[in-house]
Point group: C2
Chain length 337, copies 2
């Protein structure tokens, strides 16, 4: 069977691998779609070589069809499933608190352990969630990033009528905006890429572009108060510098993006207006279940975010395409192609 | 009557001022003690010239005796009182939320408006809290910083058995440590000044000095988890750089210190362990009431923190003394001297 192997910075090689043999608690999956995520771009650039081995198989946004599953496992051949790509110890302080996705021994499938960029994959049944038939393959492949967005909005405790500023309108920013809007928030997305701005506006989202002074915009929008929540989804130091200026007294900053290096943050603003900032990383089981509900009910429309599909053989070019920016949003690897 | 006037950076002048005439809702106070605070040091160095006018009277940690009060106001001549040194509009978004001490039009007495560094002061009765006779004058002068510490520990939601690391063992750090200990937390204070370390240990507080690698210390102390809460009370960029490294998954960082400039913060750690960071600035009325209870019951012993008392005429030298560091903790201006 075919698989794509990470061979070091900027290099993927498609090759063959023996068919996986599922363990007693595992299902054998036929992978159909795998999304390319920001973390994958970090891997591609060699930033995560301390976690991803040479020859490793990446991919953690996986939609698949079950080929074979243990009897009585609740999953059967033909089921359409997504994969919650985490393994945890269940015993550490984080797991005890219920933060299994932040386990001190956390391993992410597709990063620390082999992932979904291959035709067949054996995965513990406990890590599978069924997807209704009403959701198309492309939509189902968006459940993982949607679960991230659901988690982010839940942690920020968004209430109806809240104002939310999303800094960065890539796939996660767009999904956060749609989930927050569904929760009743008034949402604006700050984005510089004209293609993405167009796509966001097609989704009915309000945007502000690079020609606008964001702090002034927020002052005018919120009558001088600042927004209730700002989501930092850019990973750009300029956004980290600005995020404390746009939030109201007692407001919330959600750090969703990866900032590889420490960046200047205005702690005086944190102090003076008693802001709360929290990181928001992955998801719990309930976030996945909610993501499936939101996508299936069309409360969040995920399909328009898919800007391109590529065959497995084109993974390296696909990564370069996403890195280059421009007319790109979510790229999916289509394993059925 | 005597008063001390701020004449610009590094200069205070003691002079005379007409006796204040209290308005209909005001009490006339005979000031007895005023503490020198970190904010006062910023004023002294000219950092707050945009808020403090030349010729202004500073001082916001005030203990006084009532000379005259409106009939039926609940306060009478002879009452011993502390002054909650804030004025707020009562109508803005912050006030509506109950964050009157973060009012968008907040004026702090002793910073934006005249304060307590004078013999007599007319203050709105609504801003006074009575202090029991069992509390000595010096102890009563410590109620304001104790209210800050009560507020900080309350916002951090410290629970019995929690581990708390206090970065910086000055007056506020020491008070936070004692309040957190009273709430049942296990507390360690990181402090570099040997005089302060000695004083903290005399109060029964555990300390770590500059010869210890704090991250390793915390790892060993918490069995690799990190502390539940870290309080940043130094205002030092090195502490801001370190604070994200010492907190457990889902743990809390409380930013109490003033960082005048944006400083590098490890947002990756905020993200990876879903930390929460919040600023903690002043206090609500309940924090004051709790501070008076804690001091009066000796649950928190504030008197040992007073390292020197000076007459009003020596305010400038007192400021230089505090700035110089060394054998100094809390300096009080004694208006009865």
């Amino acid at each position: 069977m075919r698989a794509s192997f990470y061979e070091g910075a900027r290099t993927f090689r498609t090759g063959s691998q023996p068919m996986p043999v599922p363990g007693p608690d595992e299902a054998l999956l036929r992978v159909r779609r795998v999304g390319i995520c920001g973390t994958d771009l970090h891997i591609f650039q060699g930033h995560l070589d301390h976690r991803v081995p040479k020859g490793g198989v990446i991919g953690h946004e996986t939609f698949a069809e079950v080929v074979q599953a243990p009897p009585g496992s609740g999953v059967r051949a033909g089921d359409r499933v997504v994969v919650e790509p985490v393994t945890f110890c269940g015993r550490c302080r984080a797991c005890e608190m219920g933060a299994t996705y932040l386990c001190y021994g956390l391993k992410v499938l597709g990063v620390d352990l082999p992932g979904g960029m291959r035709e067949y994959w054996a995965v513990p049944v406990a890590r599978l969630l069924k997807v209704p038939d009403t959701l198309g393959d492309d939509q189902a492949a968006m459940i993982e990033p949607l679960a991230v967005a659901v988690h982010d909005v839940r942690r920020a405790q968004t209430q109806p009528g809240d104002t939310a500023l999303v800094l960065g309108g890539g796939p996660i920013g767009a999904l956060i905006a749609m989930v927050a809007r569904h929760r009743g928030a008034r949402v604006v997305v700050a984005e510089v890429n004209p293609y993405r701005v167009g796509l966001l506006e097609d989704l009915g989202l309000e945007t502000v572009g690079p020609d606008v002074d964001l702090t002034r915009f927020v002052q005018a929008w919120t009558e001088g108060n600042g927004v209730d929540v700002a989501y930092e989804v850019t990973g750009n130091p300029a956004a980290a510098r600005l995020m404390t200026d746009v939030v109201r007294v007692w407001g919330t900053i959600s750090v969703v993006a990866i900032h590889a290096e420490p960046v200047p943050v205005n702690l005086y603003q944190m102090f003076a207006r008693e802001l709360t900032m929290h990181g928001s990383r992955l998801y719990s089981r309930e976030d996945w279940e909610e993501a499936i509900r939101l996508a299936a009910s069309q409360a969040v429309t995920v399909a328009p975010l898919v800007s391109r599909k590529i065959p497995l053989e084109d993974l390296q070019q696909g990564m370069e395409h996403v890195l280059a920016g421009g007319a790109v949003m979510k790229v999916l690897v289509d394993l059925t192609a």
